[in-house]
Subunit: 284 residues, 2 copies
Amino acid sequence: MAGDGAGGPSGYGAAVHEFDADTAVEAAGEGRFRATITDRWHIGLAPNGGYLLAVVAAALGEALPHPDPLTITAHYLRPAEAGPAEVTVEPVRTGRSLSTATAALVQGGRERLRVLATCGDLDAGPARVPVTRVRGGPPDLPPPERCERRDPPEGGFAPPILERFDTRLHPPPGWVAGRRDGEADLTGWIRFADGRDADARSLVLFADAFPPAVFEVTEAGWVPTVELTVHVRARPAPGWLRARFSTRFLVDGWLEEDGELWDEAGRLVAQSRQLALVLPVPGG
Amino acid sequence: MAGDGAGGPSGYGAAVHEFDADTAVEAAGEGRFRATITDRWHIGLAPNGGYLLAVVAAALGEALPHPDPLTITAHYLRPAEAGPAEVTVEPVRTGRSLSTATAALVQGGRERLRVLATCGDLDAGPARVPVTRVRGGPPDLPPPERCERRDPPEGGFAPPILERFDTRLHPPPGWVAGRRDGEADLTGWIRFADGRDADARSLVLFADAFPPAVFEVTEAGWVPTVELTVHVRARPAPGWLRARFSTRFLVDGWLEEDGELWDEAGRLVAQSRQLALVLPVPGG
């Protein structure tokens, strides 16, 4: 179902999916792309960082000969906003199997994030030494239909981004019930609410789509991402993703958050790490 | 002792340390720096990626108002070589507490690595919500004097970089004795062989200075880094560093390696993750 494009007038699956509509880019000259940032992926007053990165990844996919962001890093400079944006892509090196580029997302003359990415083709087959050795597996979860769908209010209001996903956190985090006595670990199921399957590009958004794991140990108004790196390790099978996010080192308000995304076939499809900052509850 | 600079004619600590000599940069115009890549940090036929990144970090430290690379990502485009290099720095955003820039290291007109970094000041004090919650600690190791110093031959020869560090792996990895039957975990002590203390900038090199953890599970000629990200979390205390490196997901020859560096005060000073590739043993 991914990337159906515009279809017939009535079928559910035939409509343009939210993710595709809201990350579409249009070529506007050498290395330049026009995009429209919507408010449907907002957390609080600003768009989610993973959403912005997915828009940039769409431009990279257009500009480079290799389709998949194997490793992509974003540095967030200032909040973005709903409205038009320009994405510029500067290729750094184009090789046979990998392409590297920088990209920037600019609104109103102000750059919102800078990206550095190396893209490849996940269907290209194994590397020259195709050895596999995997430790660990997806989180152990009851089937999604037995996990409660829960759109946790954050600070009393539900940000629009919650409606874009079907998220089944398990076990339910304590902070939803007002307890912050656990560890900063979150596991659960996630998929797009409108039924679109995950693909390589959308994994950069899924890597930033759970609530912050650090909510379990401290009250925070906002946990802005300074830097997010995602390694896309495989093209996901259709269906649900299983996710695991953890923060181990919250020091003086600075924290990392590590993420893993697994597909229904039990394969690790992405790893992520971000550096972020706990900011106060407004008025708190 | 860090950054002593040139001192008296005789004292051990008064000499310019190898790291400082070999990562020195000289301003050469707006955003341009000259450097000399030495062969003292070679692994095989090419300089270590962490060393190259430390040279770039030196240029960032000169070009930006904030001294410390809080989060720095390098994408390695092609091997570098001993000889002159130019580092160019393009500031992206300079804020009150953080600066973001891209940088490139170029030799003979060919770019060797592209870097994206956000710098700050580790002495600036805690963030606005100075909460601390740490899980895990440094690896449990016997004192360094009770761990054997071992410069493991890699493929039968000892690369020059081994002489730059005093590395005490504990437990000793099985592959040193020809066994590859363990897990891809390495722990041990490390410091510069010439007594220079670690500082924030040199942590980007220490994050890439252990042998690959994946040697424990597969024979590899070379494990080139595609991308390396280092979060510098604190300024290290003088003395030894304790390090932990692990690979959990080696799939079709692609792998991540996660690292932690801890100082003698027991504080996490850096976290790292790289995406790398297993390449064949030459002639193997």
